[in-house]
């Protein structure tokens, strides 16, 4: 009984202290065939700078449609367009900032 309770507390704590990005992005993307970093590099390929990548990503997440997606038609046909984000602006910005910091190229090249 104590052991079960301890596991429940650990799971609860992990979820409670997880970031907005972990809770709202990674949680779903982990179940997808295409990993979340591939989306990032597609954005980078099209929008280049930090400012452009972040703003286009935020725009898509708030209003996802066929016109502003960066994924190819075949991918959209198969998996469809995602649902609108339920996050408010602050949470969305926080999640996108973390996403950028994890996968950005700056400071990683050798």
């Amino acid at each position: 009984m104590v052991k079960k309770l301890l596991i429940a507390v650990i799971i609860f704590n992990t979820y409670s202290f997880a970031s907005s990005y972990e809770k709202n992005c990674v949680a779903c993307h982990n179940n997808m065939i295409v990993s979340i970093d591939k989306f990032f590099y597609r954005y980078l390929l099209k929008y280049s700078s930090e400012k452009n990548v972040k703003s286009s990503l935020a725009e898509y997440l708030k209003n996802p449609n066929k016109d502003n997606t960066i994924m190819p038609n075949a991918f959209i046909k198969r998996y469809g367009i995602k649902e609108k984000t339920t996050l408010n602006d602050d949470e969305l910005i926080e999640a996108i900032n973390e996403y950028w910091d994890i996968y950005k190229v700056f400071g990683k090249l050798q």
């Binding site: 980078l44 929008y47 280049s48 990548v53 050798q110």
Partner: protein, 393 residues
């Protein structure tokens, strides 16, 4: 050429000519600098155009490797390097992503340019691999083209400058020609006039000297005196003109002259002229002062100073002539000469007062004679008070 005409270019004319030459030279230098600059840049563009093909190949190769890195960024993160060139990548906000460049001076608006002895080529790929909107390829600039172009510019500029200077020389001669012609005409006129004056002046002077004034009544004597004054004035002008026109042909007969004697003689000669203006001539002459020079020339110098002192004096004024062991001076109580006019005092044909007669050659003769005998002339004058000419040796 001008010397043949007995005309020397005066200081201000020489100054004008020098000013023209200086201005013309500056103009040539500016034109040559601009054309050199344009030529240098066109040669630089030509060099960059030639290098662009190689640089484009390097950029394509680099982009291919960048694409590979973009795809496999999760596996390895080694920036593509090449011994043939350096490179840098920037995002669309021109923020540096990574660089191996030697010169960090990037001109994003250019395609190819030189910077700190490096040639930069900026390529903008359609897809921004690793976010790179700008790819900068850098190769060293060996500078061979530059030294060849500079050498070429140096040689052409030199010959062009020489050519332009020769053109300028002939241009300046063209500019001077009207002035030279005017002076030539004036000199010719004076020479001709002088020649025509010779016989009548001699006749008048000789006949006046021959008149026995003791047998004449006062009225006639007065008239004769007036004729004498007029004749002396003309004679003085005539001698001045003769001096100028023949000065190159006159041989100086220098001898030790008694200046005391000559000055008092010349003062006596001008007495009748001074009387006509009611001027008093005061002499303060030291005895037995000698100077080695030509009698005619020193008399001419004194005559001109005295003649001016009379001509520009006020009625009832005075003239003081002093002679000391190393100088003599003529002081008048005349109209004076302004400071600005004093600078051009000894220039030929310069006259400051048109009301009095003359050609403006008297003081020019004084300066020519003084120059020949190393005499120093000091002029001090105050408007409406008088002038003092001091001749020292």
């Amino acid at each position: 050429m001008l010397k043949d005409l007995d005309i020397d270019l005066t200081k201000s004319e020489t100054r004008t000519l020098l000013g023209f030459i200086a201005l013309y030279s500056i103009l040539i230098i500016v034109i040559l600098s601009i054309s050199s600059f344009v030529y240098f840049n066109s040669q630089k563009d030509l060099m960059l155009q030639k290098k662009r093909q190689v640089l484009q190949e390097y950029a394509n190769d680099f982009m291919f490797r960048l694409k590979d890195l973009h795809v496999n960024f999760d596996k390895y993160q080694f920036y593509p390097r090449d011994e043939k060139f350096n490179s840098a990548i920037f995002d669309s906000d021109k923020t540096l992503i990574f660089s191996t460049l030697n010169s960090q001076n990037i001109e994003f608006d250019e395609v190819a340019y030189t910077s700190n002895n490096q040639i930069h080529f900026i390529n903008q790929p359609e897809s921004y691999y690793l976010g790179a909107k700008y790819i900068v390829i850098e190769i060293p600039d060996d500078g061979i083209w530059k030294s060849a172009v500079l050498k070429e510019i140096g040689i052409y500029s030199f010959f062009m400058f020489i050519f332009m200077v020769i053109v300028g020389y002939f241009m300046s001669k063209l500019f001077i020609k009207p002035m030279k012609d005017s002076l030539h005409l004036l000199d010719r006129f004076i020479k001709d006039t002088t020649h025509e004056l010779n016989t009548p002046i001699s006749a008048i002077m000789q006949n006046i000297e021959m008149i026995d004034k003791d047998n004449l009544d006062d009225k006639t004597i007065k008239k004769i005196n007036r004729i004498e004054i007029g004749a002396k004035t003309i004679s003085n002008i005539y001698e001045d003109l003769t001096f100028l026109t023949l000065k190159n042909k006159l041989i100086s007969q220098n001898e030790n002259l008694n200046l005391t004697h000559i000055i008092s003689q010349r003062a006596e000669y001008f007495k009748s002229l001074a009387n006509s203006k009611k001027l008093s001539i005061n002499l303060d002459l030291q005895e037995e002062v000698y100077l080695k020079c030509d009698n005619k020339k020193i008399s001419k110098l004194i005559d001109n100073l005295l003649s001016n002192a009379i001509k520009y004096n006020k009625v009832n004024g005075s003239i003081k002539i002093s002679l000391k062991s190393n100088y003599f001076e003529v002081i008048d109580t005349g109209i004076g000469i302004s400071k600005e006019n004093q600078e051009n005092l000894f220039k030929r044909y310069t006259r400051f007062n048109t009301s009095a007669g003359g050609f403006g050659i008297g003081l020019n003769i004084v300066s020519l004679i003084a120059k020949e005998y190393n005499l120093k002339i000091d002029v001090s004058s105050e408007l409406n008070k008088g002038t003092r000419f001091k001749v020292s040796w």
